[in-house]
């Protein structure tokens, strides 16, 4: 069946003429939209941008992205959705980030943002509808012009064709923009797709291989100054006194100013600002967190784990079953604080005028940025113009609920009284907070006669990333932050256990924490998948069979698991001498990914040679893009599994740059073979779901190789 979408009832598609000739397909803001709605009522501006698609008389087609390109490939896959329905000439496509405006709010989250691996799933209909609507209008315009029936017209590669005659879209845009909007649009049936489901090369490659791509850090214009900020060495610390004499003597330094987050040195260029900062003498008030120590925290977390927490979920009577049992597997797991360390250090350029504030930055959180900038400058949100540049990686760091780096940059520009680009050094980034929180899990499991788990008691300890943020009222229920427990509370495994209980402790530590690629699943998948592997071993069953049995009612898990097992020939092949294989499968962001890692240990170090991965993500819009994201997510997770860790002593972060905050390097990259489960289900997440299974797959392989169960990240085998 074709999907017939009534445009009038949904009332969010409309067309207008493009100034200077052309057709614009725009979206009207849905009224139910929380954040956007507040802005809409505040907005008295005559023009609020809302275009998603512009077709000009020269045939060029511009697609506006409501989400940010940070490597995940939506610069290509969102245009594919429009081009599919529009039958566009792919070579005529241009792509731009949309400005910040209510029309671009995320269909599920109600604010303009990129995250949760949700861009394609949330835009799959909207972008296709925009393309279909434009096509319907162009066909109508062509039919009228040619004096034929609409049904006698077809479209292909940017043209409407009727018999021997054809008209280019560019020739039709003016007529099309004056037509009444069609009552409904019809989307193609999947069997007629020409682009969706076929790999398209990235549209941003030409700019990114020539140095032309504009990242936030590359913004330059006449009069723009650069600032670096000296922030408190301990979170929650504050400035006691500043001596800026030496800093002001550095050639190129213009001003030293105080902002809420520290002391900013504003200069003609980065190097002068950095030297100026080095020359600052600042005395700090250490604040309440001067005693922070990650080793001590771990002991506190351990104690908490053994005490009563908030009840997350339960079935049967796990405590009773455990106390009656003779053999209990008891295990503790720990994962450290992690920085996102996106390749492009954080930065934000701000220019404030009497009645406008213009911002250039790579951001995942436009609506928040706009709101905080409005607040600080005393302007209305619609007077704040956000130019989203390419993001040199995000991984969640460019989506802080308090817009930390934008807030700071607006303060700097305001105090400096000049346009300023505030740039973070790598050390600022590693020590600047907003980390994946440290977590400790304690699990106690009893196996039944059949070797399958019969009782499971699970306690999770770690900071809530949403507590104290504007998201708390929406996303923390009865004190339980869903991002702390995702992957355990909703685990397919637990559902198969008659007696189970999950408890949560969310201690506050003073360390700013944040979502980090795959959020709670970064720790929950590690725990669940290594624990299930250990249970399989205790039960004397193969890790693959054991999982199949526990997951027998979960066809998508099974499909991913079976595809990965088939591709590595689990049953019929053996790894090379000195190597072993480990499996993990995990659901996150609506998708299921199975990974099988092949590892050896060389000079005491884990070496991962090969990873076979399989994902069920519904329809894969751009299959090679999905493969690239699996490679990326595995590399990201593998760096954390093997190397990355932040520690605190006397309140201070000990690591500072890539020499001591290790991430994966090329020589450590395994061969990755990524496969996609064939599916006609609606698309689900792709950017993140590949990360959670890699750490447990590697840990399970190490256990198979050495017998050691490593329950702490990063994985460090003992010799």
């Amino acid at each position: 069946m074709n999907a017939v979408i009534p445009t009038s009832r949904r009332d969010f598609l409309k067309q207008t003429a493009l100034a200077g000739g052309g057709l614009v397909i725009a979206f009207v803001v849905p009224a139910a939209n929380r954040f956007a709605h507040a802005q809409e009522t505040a907005a008295a501006a005559p023009f609020v941008p809302n275009a998603f698609l512009r077709i000009a008389a020269d045939d060029s087609i511009t697609v506006l992205l409501a989400h940010s390109e940070m490597g995940q490939g939506i610069w290509t896959s969102l245009p594919m959705l429009i081009a599919e329905e529009l039958d566009a000439d792919w070579s005529k496509l241009r792509v731009e980030h949309a400005p910040a405006a209510p029309a671009y709010a995320h269909a599920m989250f109600g604010m303009q943002m990129t995250g949760g691996s949700s861009t394609i799933s949330s835009e799959f209909d909207r972008y296709r509808q925009a393309g279909a609507m434009a096509r319907a209008l162009l066909v109508q315009a062509a039919a009228t012009r040619l004096g034929v029936a609409v049904t006698d017209c077809r479209t292909e590669s940017g043209k409407v064709i009727a018999g021997e005659q054809s008209l280019r879209y560019g020739e039709l845009v003016d007529d099309a923009s004056k037509l009444a909007a069609p009552a409904s649009v019809i989307l193609k049936e999947p069997k007629d797709w020409k682009l969706i489901g076929k790999s398209s090369r990235r549209l941003d490659t030409p700019e990114k291989i020539t140095g032309r791509a504009g990242f936030g850090i590359d913004v330059r214009f006449e009069g723009l100054l650069t600032a670096v900020v000296l922030r408190a060495p301990i979170f929650g610390g504050s400035v006691k006194s500043v001596d800026s004499k030496a800093a002001m003597l550095v050639p190129g330094v213009r001003r030293v100013i105080q902002v809420p987050s520290g002391v900013a040195v504003v200069a003609d260029h980065y190097w002068a600002a950095k030297l100026g900062r080095d020359a600052l003498a600042v005395e700090w008030e250490p604040g309440p967190n001067a005693g922070l120590d990650s080793e001590a925290m771990r002991l506190q977390f351990r104690e908490l784990a053994a005490s009563e927490g908030l009840q997350v979920t339960q079935a049967g009577d796990a405590p009773a079953a455990l106390s009656a049992a003779t053999a209990v597997l008891e295990a503790e797991y720990v994962v450290p604080y992690l920085a996102h360390a996106p390749m492009e250090p954080l930065n934000c350029t701000v220019k404030i005028d009497a009645d406008a504030c213009e911002i250039w930055t790579g951001t995942q959180f436009q609506t928040m940025d706009q709101m905080v900038a409005a607040q600080i400058t005393g302007l209305k949100p619609e007077q704040v113009r956000i130019n989203t540049t390419f993001l040199g990686g995000g991984f969640g760091r460019r989506a802080t609920p308090v817009s930390d780096f934008v807030t700071e940059a607006v303060h700097v520009a305001k105090e400096a009284g000049a346009p300023v680009k505030t740039v973070w050094s790598r050390e600022d980034d590693i020590r600047g907070g907003y980390y994946r929180p440290m977590y400790l899990h304690r699990a106690r499991v009893v196996l039944g006669e059949d070797g399958m788990p019969s009782a499971w008691d699970h306690s999770i300890v770690g900071q809530s990333i949403l507590a104290g943020t504007p998201f708390e009222p929406m996303m923390v229920k009865d004190g339980i932050d869903g991002t702390s427990i995702e992957g355990v509370a909703d685990s397919a495994y637990l559902k198969a256990v008659a007696n189970h209980r999950v408890q949560l402790h969310s201690p506050r530590t003073g360390i700013p924490v944040l979502w980090w690629r795959s959020v709670g699943h970064t720790h929950t998948a590690f725990v669940m998948e290594t624990l299930v592997d250990e249970l399989a071993q205790r039960a004397g069953k193969s890790p693959l069979e054991y999982r199949r049995q526990l997951l027998k009612d979960h066809p998508r898990h099974l499909a991913a698991l079976n595809l990965a097992a088939e591709k590595i020939a689990w049953d019929t092949s053996k790894p090379l001498m000195g190597r072993a294989r480990g499996i993990a499968v995990h659901e996150s962001f609506g998708s299921v990914v199975a990974e099988i890692a092949e590892v050896s240990i060389e000079r005491g170090q884990i070496r991962v040679h090969r990873v076979v991965a399989a994902i069920d993500c519904g329809v894969a819009v751009n299959p090679d893009g999905v493969v690239a994201q699996l490679e990326s997510a595995i590399a990201f997770g593998l760096g954390a599994a093997l190397y990355s860790s932040l520690s605190f002593k006397e309140g201070r972060v000990q690591e500072s740059n890539f020499h001591d905050y290790r991430v994966l390097r090329l020589s450590e990259m395994p061969l990755i073979e990524a496969h996609i489960v064939a599916s006609s289900a609606p698309p689900s997440g792709v950017g993140e779901p590949g990360t959670p299974p890699i750490a447990p797959a590697v840990a399970n392989a190490v256990a198979a190789l050495t017998g050691q169960r490593l329950r702490e990240l990063p994985l460090r085998p003992t010799a």
Binding site: G73, M343, S632, A635, N657, F658, L664
Partner: protein, 151 residues
């Protein structure tokens, strides 16, 4: 001081020890060369001095005087260099931020070793961090570029 970048002369006023990276980016305006760590750990700032790869974040600008400085912008404007063509064919890039450095390291490697082995690639390219994890495609693209350069 006088610097010759991508064949053009630039007269800049800068302290002798100002890193070449910031002279290129902030004084000359060539922003294709990237800042990633500032301590020769990530390779994002890789440029060539007389064809040899250097980390411009720790190279004083004065050390580049009298040498031919090549940046990503000097490779080709249209992406037609064999390494860039290979990058396009393999669809290497993701966020793209590390890619100027990756490409400059690859060009230098191929100049020294037209037919690099995987071990050569490991040795020459492991100083270039990619947080998007494009390593597998970088490796494939270096091999591809070696092929393209021959044909």
């Amino acid at each position: 001081m006088k610097l010759r970048v991508n064949g053009s002369e630039h007269e800049v006023t800068a302290a002798a020890d100002m890193p070449l990276l910031w002279v290129l980016r902030d004084l000359i305006g060539l922003t294709g060369t990237k800042f990633g760590c500032g301590i020769a750990q990530c390779g994002a700032c890789t440029v060539h001095l007389d064809g040899a790869p250097v980390r411009s974040c720790v190279t004083p600008a004065s050390a580049a005087e009298g040498k031919a400085i090549t940046t990503i912008e000097g490779l080709s404007a249209d992406g037609s260099h064999p390494v860039q063509r290979a990058w396009t064919e393999i669809d290497v890039v993701q966020c793209g931020y590390c890619q100027s450095g990756q490409i400059m390291s690859a060009v230098a490697l191929l100049a020294a070793k037209p037919d690099p082995s995987d071990a050569d690639i490991d040795a020459a390219m492991s100083g270039n961090i990619c947080r998007c994890g494009t390593y597998q495609r970088v490796r494939a693209a270096v091999h591809k570029a070696a092929e393209l350069a021959k044909s």
